[in-house]
C-alpha cells in the first residue's frame, strides 16, 4: 500500500485527488491537504465580481466530497517538505499547520510515498505598494475578493447614475503578472454592466496591462485564420476595444497605487499616473511559502524551488536568451529532478521561461507577462501525475512516466460577459499548443487549424456550460470522469 499526499485542492490538486481515488484508491491511501474548506471554480469569479453570480454559486464545501469518495482531508497549510525524512522520522513527510477551526495552528506531520505539489500561487499583492484588498484596489482572485469587487463596482455605478463621471481601471498590477485573459474578461463584463445600467457614457474604461500589444495574453499572441486570411489576436482584440470604446495602457509596470492613483512605468521608460475611481488590478503570482529540508535538517529549498518560489520539475532552467528558447525546454512529466516521487502541477511548477517576449524599460524595469498555466492545463497535469504514479506502482521505479507538455497541449479561453441565455457575449479563443513550437509549426508556432478566435453569444453559452459541467465534475457526481479536464 502506498500513500499519495496531495497539497492543494484547486483545479490541479482536486483533479489529481479524484483520479487518484478512482485509479489507485482501492489499495492505496489518498490524502489531500488544503488550507481552504471550499472548492472555488475560479473562472466564474469574474461573474461574481460584477454581481451576476453569488459567491455560493462558485464555491462548495470540499470535505463532504472527500468523505463520500473515501479521500482523507486535512484542512491545513503545508509548511515544510522533508523528502528524506529526518533524524526521528525515517519516511518522507510534510509538516503542516492546521487551519481547521477545531485544530487551529496545531502542527502535524504527514508521511508520504508520493507527493503532488498543487499549491497554486501566492497572490503577491505585496510586490506593488498599495495593491490589493488591503490597499486601494480590488481583485477577483478569490470568491471573497470578487464579492468586494462587485460591491465597489455597484457603488461606482450609483455615482455615475447620480451624474458623476468615473474612471474604471482594470488590468494587472505589476510588470510580471500573468492571467491577462482574466483582466480582459473582467473589462468586458464591466463594460456590459455599465451598458445595462445605462451609464456607459459616464465611464472612462481603461485597460492597463503589462502586455506589449493587445491580444498577447501572456502567450505571445496568436495567429488565427478567418475568412481566408491569417489575422492576429492583436488586430482581433483591438477591434473589440474599438467597438466597446475601451482605452488601453500597454507595456506597463504598476509601481505603486495610492488612493485613486495608479503610478506606472511603460516599456519605453515613460512614467505616468492614472487617476481612477474604481480599480481591479490582478496581483503577480509567486510560489507559496513552502520550505524543504534534507535528513540532516539543512535547508534545501533552493535546490527544490526556483527563486520565484515555484517548484523545479523536468524543465530546462539554464536561463538561455529568449531567442534560443525552445518548446522542448518545457516540462513533460512534472517530476522534481532531485526527488522523482515529488510532482509539481498546475501553477505550482516553475516555468522555464516566459512565452511572451520579456522586455526591460530603459530604467531597467522588467516588463514580462508570466506564462498562464491555469484551468485546463492544470487539470491535465493533475491527472498525469496520478497516471505516472499508477505506472510506478504497477511496474516499479523504471516505469515510463506519462507526458503532458504545454508545448503539446492546447487551451481554451472563453472571456464571457452578461448573463442568461440571450443577453451575453463572449470572445472564445483556443490555441494549440500553448507554448509555441516553431519546429512543428514553423510559420506561427501553433496549429492554424486549432488556434482561432470568435466573438458571439455561442461563446457565452460555452462559458455557462463549462461552469455547470466543471462544478458537477468537481463534486464527483456520477460520470464525472468522462468530462475531460
Amino acid at each position: 500500500m502506498a500513500r499519495v499526499l496531495i497539497l492543494g485542492a484547486g483545479i490541479a490538486g482536486h483533479t489529481a485527488a479524484l483520479h487518484a481515488k478512482r485509479l489507485l484508491g482501492r489499495n492505496n491511501e489518498i490524502i489531500v491537504v488544503s488550507p481552504n474548506s471550499n472548492y472555488n471554480w475560479i473562472p466564474s469569479n469574474i461573474w461574481v465580481g460584477v454581481g451576476k453570480m453569488q459567491k455560493q454559486q462558485v464555491i462548495f464545501p470540499i470535505a463532504p466530497v472527500y468523505k463520500r469518495k473515501g479521500i482523507e482531508f486535512h484542512q491545513a497549510l503545508a509548511k515544510s517538505i522533508y523528502p528524506e525524512g529526518d533524524s526521528q522520522i525515517a519516511n518522507a513527510y510534510v509538516e503542516v499547520s492546521y487551519t481547521d477551526p477545531g485544530r487551529l495552528n496545531q502542527v502535524g506531520k504527514i508521511e508520504y510515498d508520493f507527493l503532488i505539489n498543487a499549491t497554486g500561487p501566492k497572490l503577491n499583492f505585496a510586490a506593488t505598494e498599495g495593491l490589493g484588498p488591503d490597499g486601494h484596489t480590488v481583485s477577483v482572485c478569490t470568491a471573497g475578493h470578487a464579492v468586494d469587487a462587485a460591491e465597489a463596482l455597484k457603488s461606482s455605478i450609483e455615482k455615475m447614475k447620480a451624474g458623476n463621471k468615473q474612471c474604471i481601471a482594470i488590468g494587472v498590477g505589476h510588470g510580471t503578472c500573468t492571467c491577462e485573459g482574466a483582466a480582459f474578461e473582467y473589462t468586458f463584463n464591466v463594460d456590459h454592466e455599465l451598458r445595462m445600467a445605462g451609464v456607459r457614457d459616464m465611464a472612462d474604461l481603461v485597460y492597463i496591462t503589462n502586455e506589449y500589444e493587445l491580444g498577447d495574453f501572456g502567450v505571445g499572441g496568436m495567429v488565427f485564420t478567418q475568412r481566408g486570411f491569417q489575422t492576429t489576436s492583436k488586430l482581433w482584440t483591438e477591434s473589440l476595444f474599438r467597438e466597446r470604446g475601451v482605452r488601453a495602457i500597454l507595456g506597463a509596470h504598476v509601481e505603486k497605487v495610492e488612493a485613486g492613483k495608479v503610478y506606472y512605468e511603460q516599456v519605453d521608460g515613460t512614467k505616468d499616473v492614472l487617476a481612477f475611481d474604481f480599480a481591479m488590478l490582478l496581483p503577480p503570482f509567486r510560489g507559496v511559502d513552502l520550505q524543504a529540508f534534507n535528513k540532516a535538517g539543512d535547508d534545501i529549498s533552493s535546490e527544490i524551488f526556483a527563486p520565484s518560489g515555484f517548484m523545479k520539475v523536468d524543465a530546462d532552467y539554464s536561463g538561455k536568451p529568449y531567442e534560443e528558447w525552445k518548446a522542448s525546454d518545457w516540462p513533460s512529466t512534472y517530476r522534481n529532478p532531485s526527488y522523482p516521487n515529488i510532482f509539481a502541477v498546475g501553477i505550482a511548477f516553475a516555468p522555464p521561461h516566459q512565452i511572451s517576449k520579456p522586455r526591460k524599460s530603459p530604467n531597467g524595469t522588467l516588463i514580462a507577462p508570466a506564462p498562464p498555466r491555469t484551468g485546463m492545463p492544470s487539470g491535465i497535469m493533475g491527472k498525469l501525475a496520478i497516471l505516472t504514479i499508477k505506472e510506478l506502482l504497477n511496474k516499479g521505479p523504471q516505469a515510463e512516466a506519462h507526458s503532458a507538455s504545454m508545448a503539446k497541449m492546447g487551451a481554451a479561453c472563453v472571456a464571457s460577459s452578461g448573463s442568461g441565455l440571450t443577453q451575453g457575449s463572449a470572445a472564445a479563443m483556443t490555441m494549440f499548443p500553448i507554448v509555441p513550437d516553431y519546429e512543428a509549426y514553423p510559420n506561427t508556432g501553433r496549429s492554424l487549424k486549432d488556434t482561432y478566435g470568435e466573438i458571439g453569444l455561442s461563446g457565452h453559452w460555452i462559458k455557462l456550460l463549462l461552469h455547470y459541467m466543471f462544478i458537477y465534475k468537481a463534486k464527483g457526481r456520477p460520470g464525472w470522469q468522462f468530462i475531460p479536464e
Partner: protein, 50 residues
C-alpha cells in the same frame, strides 16, 4: 508608447450585419456546436501525448 490607442482607433470595426450575426440565435446554435467540436478535438490532442 504615446500612440498606443491610435492602433485601436484604426482597428476593423464590425458592421451592423456582423453584430447581428453574433446575436442571431440560429447562427449561434450552429456556432456553439462547431466551437465545441473544435474544442473537443483540441482537448483530445492534449490528452493523448506520446
Amino acid at each position: 508608447m504615446e500612440n498606443q490607442n491610435d492602433s485601436i482607433a484604426h482597428a476593423p470595426l464590425p458592421t451592423a450585419k456582423t453584430l447581428r450575426f453574433r446575436k442571431n440565435l440560429l447562427i449561434q446554435v450552429w456556432r456553439f456546436v462547431a466551437i465545441n467540436i473544435k474544442m473537443l478535438n483540441m482537448i483530445r490532442k492534449g490528452h493523448h501525448q506520446k
